[in-house]
Amino acid sequence: MALNSWGLRPNAPAAQEIVRRDRQAELPQVEGTLLPFGNGRSYGDSCLNSGGTLLLTRGCDRFIDFAPIDETRARLVCDAGVLLAEIIELFLPRGWFLPVTPGTRFVTVGGAIANDVHGKNHHRAGSFGNHVRRFELLRSDGSRRICSATENANWFAATVGGLGLTGLITWAEIELRRVGSDALDVSNTRFEGLDEFWAINAAAEAQHEYAVAWIDCLARRPRGIFMAGDHVGGDGTAEPAASQARRALKAPFTPPFSPLNALTLRAFNTAYYHRPLPARARSPLLPYFYPLDGILEWNRLYGRRGFYQYQCVVPKGAEAAIDEMLAAISTSGQGSLLAVLKTFGAPEAHTPPGLLSFPLAGATLALDFPDRDEETEALFARLDAIVAAAGGRLYPAKDARMPRSLFRAGYAKVEEFARFVDPKFSSNFWRRVID
């Protein structure tokens, strides 16, 4: 079976896909290069290795140890192939949740570390790597290193956000946080124009743990819905995670072309913006954090050509770049259902843990685009220019096309990082941005 990434763009297959079943197992001796493959939820080519070997980590999905640290935190040790969904299923009923979670729970612990993923609480909690206490790194020379902030700290910094290039993470020790229930109090606020967004956002970040906005990027003037959320304290009124999870639907087939065209998108976005929306509501946890996980394989709706995701961050002070990008997108008429705007900026205690960590104090915008050849490329070139001028960067987890120069410009520590890359490890992404 030829594996692909979430963007489903046509890719040459790996020569070999090797299922790993035990964390103690050595790396295979193969011709060519190796790359870990978690659950393929990266959109672009950072989890692909055409012509090389993919190490499938999902077969390593054992828990190793669990123990509360204090009233509010616990430590969980598990194989890197364990899914965040499996952690939630086991531990949410016991009152524990992930301190940071991306917008899908179907990612592995190893993948979450290798992209140093972020969630809607970056302004409070930083990124996933900020809550990783230790892990074991297995290199192609057979060496195994325990890496933490104090032990092999340089290897830790290279591997968190290290895109699977520094070796294989076999197991990891992460922190979980106490939650009083599996419900959230959510508030929704419509806004028109980005000035309104910045004002709402500043107030919300001071007050709420989770904050993110959906943007209608096709409207002439950017508008959207700001969603803030907080865990509900101990009354435990929501339904258990298992029954929340059971309602997932599946996109039934891959249509030959994408039903998501400019017309349907515009109509959808308008309807979505105007839909009846309670200002305050109590939401079960899973649909709040993982709205798209309810439709398994929604990515196939983009058709056989797949799609692109474009996620950038621009530093604090350069927020005008977001206005510029939204204007460019609206003018182009290309745009997405899933445009998300959020600010990053973690407290001192949670500085970016990895040499290539994506989050940067500032604002991040994420959108997906069907592939319309030159038209799409032209829009991306325009957006790249705005990001570069603002001193921003693109997110490798989402990327299938960024130019080398933009990668170099965005990631100042790439030279330092390259020294930690395992000589036997490589990916389509790495060959694209480095060679």
Partner: protein
């Protein structure tokens, strides 16, 4: 809380089954030959909620070790509510045809070692007047076919043995269950290309837990194999010989 002995606990199907039992808070005693993997699985099952997890490293064909293993299991669990025998290998049929040793080794792992273990466990359950002995057979044991009849013969032997055991235990409160999986995507079948008939280990695990709970005599897993095998068993010999199954 049930007290459960699992032999061949490192098998993908057995591990998935143990996870379901662990989630219910059952106590487990695991037996397999790979000590390191056994330890990793035991730790996993503890985190998942097993009331207790013991383990014992043993090769199932080391008949001399069976008594010590079973004594350790009884010491750890006390009463045995459920025993699952899951170990097995899928021999290369062609290699068996070319070698008596290969053939006998395959019969030993999949047939006689299972019967030896089931004999001990069956006696204990009969004495307890309670408990379920569950053994993983295979659809391959329902009819000999050119492509894997050595494996099939061993699984068929176990099937007949379990029929007799069931007949005998019927006079006590104990029960004997044979589980007949179809095609399952596990390390045993890693080299096969997989099509629509293939199930995941956890699909089989769900069926095993349910069949044990319901004290069934026999289950095909997934259930549609019952109909496939009904047909295969009834194809007249003259026609069967012309097929390549």
């Amino acid at each position: 809380m049930q007290k459960i002995l699992v032999i061949g606990a490192t098998s993908a199907i057995a591990e998935a089954t143990c996870r379901r039992w662990a989630a219910r808070g059952d106590a487990l005693f695991l037996v397999a030959r790979d000590a390191a993997r056994l330890e990793a699985i035991a730790a996993d099952l503890s985190v998942r909620g097993a009331a207790a997890v013991g383990s014992f490293a043993m090769d199932a064909t080391d008949f001399a070790a069976h008594a010590a293993m079973f004594a350790a299991a009884q010491a750890a669990l006390g009463r045995i509510d459920v025993a699952l025998i899951a170990h097995g290998t899928l021999p290369e049929q062609k290699a068996c045809e070319a070698s008596v040793e290969e053939t006998l080794a395959a019969i030993e792992v999949n047939g006689t070692s299972v019967i030896a273990l089931a004999t001990r466990i069956g006696a204990q359950l009969e004495a307890q007047n309670s408990g379920v002995l569950a053994v993983i057979g295979s659809v391959a044991g329902d009819r000999g076919r050119a492509s894997n009849y050595v494996y099939g013969a061993a699984k068929g032997m176990v099937d007949i043995f379990m029929q007799g055991m069931r007949h005998r235990l019927a006079k006590s409160g104990a029960q004997a269950l044979i589980i007949k999986p179809g095609f399952v995507d596990t390390p045993m079948t890693a080299s096969f290309s997989k099509g629509a008939l293939w199930a995941k280990p956890d699909d089989i695990a769900r069926g095993i837990v349910k069949a044990v709970d319901q004290r069934r005599d026999q289950v095909y897993l997934p259930g549609f194999w019952r109909f496939i095998m009904l047909v295969i068993r009834h194809i007249p010999q003259a026609i069967f010989k012309k097929t390549s199954l």
